[in-house]
Amino acid sequence: MATTELKVQEKQAVSAVTMKVFRFDPEKDKTSRYDTFQVPVRPGMSVLETLFEVLDKQDSSLAFRYACRGAVCGSCAMYINGSYRLACETQLSSLGSKEITVGPLPHLPVIRDLVVDMAPFFEKYDRVMPYLKTQSEPPEKERLQSPKQRKAINEAIDCILCSCCYSACPMTWTHKEYLGPSALNKAYRFVADSRDEATAERLKVVSGEDGVWCCHTIFNCVEACPKKINQTDAIEILRRKTVSQKLKFWKR
């Protein structure tokens, strides 16, 4: 065996970036501010790693959320150089700038610095009956679903509940009760699932004044989504189904 030594030494910094980071503690500060940090950059470094660099070596008071660092947990959604992004999958090199401005997700209450209160987002999630509903007795084995039927929900189930879309949607800013793109996508995910047996009930939930008709098809959600889900499309399909259900009702 020649050597079992793994080289885990940190790669050498090759350049530096200027990080402007949003700082605010609503209980202590009258106004928010941006603090500026000069951070050495290694090849392949992400915004999340840069925040850890600041936390470890420059300012241990910085607050931000993190978990998987692999773009699946949805913890580190932030507003980075004017875009809704996951900090972990945003490479510094992809931003094309030596100056990086990081803020919390807009339009959600700030708890401290980059940490926002996700309660409004999850309250909407809870309201759309976000679970499979069936009336028929479950079979002994799995409920059958063809690959084609399964494909119908392929995009909708990718949602990681990061709240980028909710934060980006102008309708959630002005209409506080609006369910928002993510919750409506969740509702759509079950309406489109061949196994679900509660379409009528679901359409009733999403067709109210806080539901699908609030959407002004501005497509901010689609642009903000790190998983490239087309929530506007999902909302559009829910609208059509809502209308055809009402028509069916009147034709009776």
Partner: protein, 570 residues
Amino acid sequence: MVKEVHKHQVIIVGGGMAGLRAALESCDQGVDTVVLSQVHPIRSHSGSAQGGINAPLANAPEGKDDSWERHAFDTVKGSDFLADQDAVEIMTKEASARIIELEHMGAPFSRTDEGKIAQRPFGGAGFPRTCYASDKTGHVIMQALYEQLVRRQVKVYAEYFVVALAAEGDTCRGLVALNILSGELETFEADAIIFTTGGAGRIYARSSNAIINTGSGMAVAYQAGVPLKDMEFIQFHPTSLLDSNILMTEGARGEGGYLVNNKGERFMERYAAKAMELAPRDIVSRSIQTEIDQGRGFEGGYVHLDLRHLGREKILERLPGIRDIAMNFAGVDPILQPIPIQPAQHYTMGGIDCNADAETLLKGLLTAGECACVSVHGANRLGGNSLLDTVVFGQRAGKKAAQYVQNKHPRAAAEKALNEALAKAEKKINALAEGQTSEPTFQLRSELGETMTNNVGIFRDKGPMTEAVQKIKDLKRRYQGCRLTYKGKKFNLDLVRTLELEGCLQVAEVIAQGALARQESRGSHTRLDFPTRDDANWLKHTLAYFTADGPQMKYKPVIITRWQPEARKY
């Protein structure tokens, strides 16, 4: 004096797959159940699982003769005969029911042409046994379990970090946790507590694990007197993305991907001629590391995972998640280029010692999932068996906890135990907040990671491991001088990460000392100075008990029911 005490019948600590499955079961048994977690449950690391979950459903045509016995044998052989065979039998017998249940809950598995749950080949398995949802299996199962949690309106204490357990004699009565958002300590009384806190990967510098996987639950249980079992058995996943070490699923090889060295050779031929890329993980990781060490890797220490021959359509259908990750984190499109991969710490086979009903030495403290060690994985876990472990033993833990609280046997008084635990936790945090730090904690964290990856990694030897044990003792001493540099209350990451580091040091010491003591090679534990398995002396589980001077090791026999240890060839 205890200010306000949250009282619940069952508290589940950890909101990953084992925790949520346990919570659903306990709730369905009619018991007041809550989940307490360091992060919102949906952020848990179980959601990062990609390739799948094993059950002998026999849905694939090639797998029509699969059975729980074959699944059990593959698991036992994969474990290098260190798994307890009675527990493996339970897991494999209950596997199919648990998967069907997940499907009924709404988990959107990929499908066969007949509409059944699709299954793919995985390492060390005789049949295509791994049920999957493209390469996002953990994500979709976590979503389904969380959906069910919401349906039952189970209360969640999110962003709470457990600092201490409260025990009265041999009975667990509650816990003290830091409310991360407020920065206050809060006290919880419970009739039963289930630890489902996940793995300890971040003790290593190179790990596929989430940043939150620091072994904190293991450390809390260990310091409360519950032994940690078989901690020296650390799984190194063969294929993590170069540098970021994000997982590239075994499913990529299950779908037909090749491992290739710098000479263009499919080198697995030299190490496992029959199973090739689908040999168990310990063997593939050793093989890759050997190629790299002997100069057949690429500059920077990696080999290639080549998927190009699978074609665009199959990659987009079956492996879209890892394609996105490879493109976004390494700038490589697997449709056009091979993926640069290297082995990285992935899983802790060991954990909090428990039986097949999830019970520990401490009455009322149960455990399941990666933080627990039943043991079903022994010295090497098969891919697809970790998610199965979480739902089988999560369900059993929830059921047992509910039974335990419903039995009206007398329980020790809680107040004294809770007061003591709170005082202990307050003392610990106040001490961290006093005075100046002797050195920054990131320095210790990074030295620990490098020591573990270099000295207690894939290939192990007495000299480097002895150094590691010394180094960890030294780090523990240096930790005594560490203080917080930020003393605010709300969302204090300095505090959380400093508390985590203490646990990391405790758990690392158990791993290194257990590895040094075990003078054989078995599964993931490969010693250059003891290159063969030694059943005569080492067919036994390690139990590490906490003492102020470091772990005290004891051993207990492996349970063998029907499969006698034999040579392990693939």
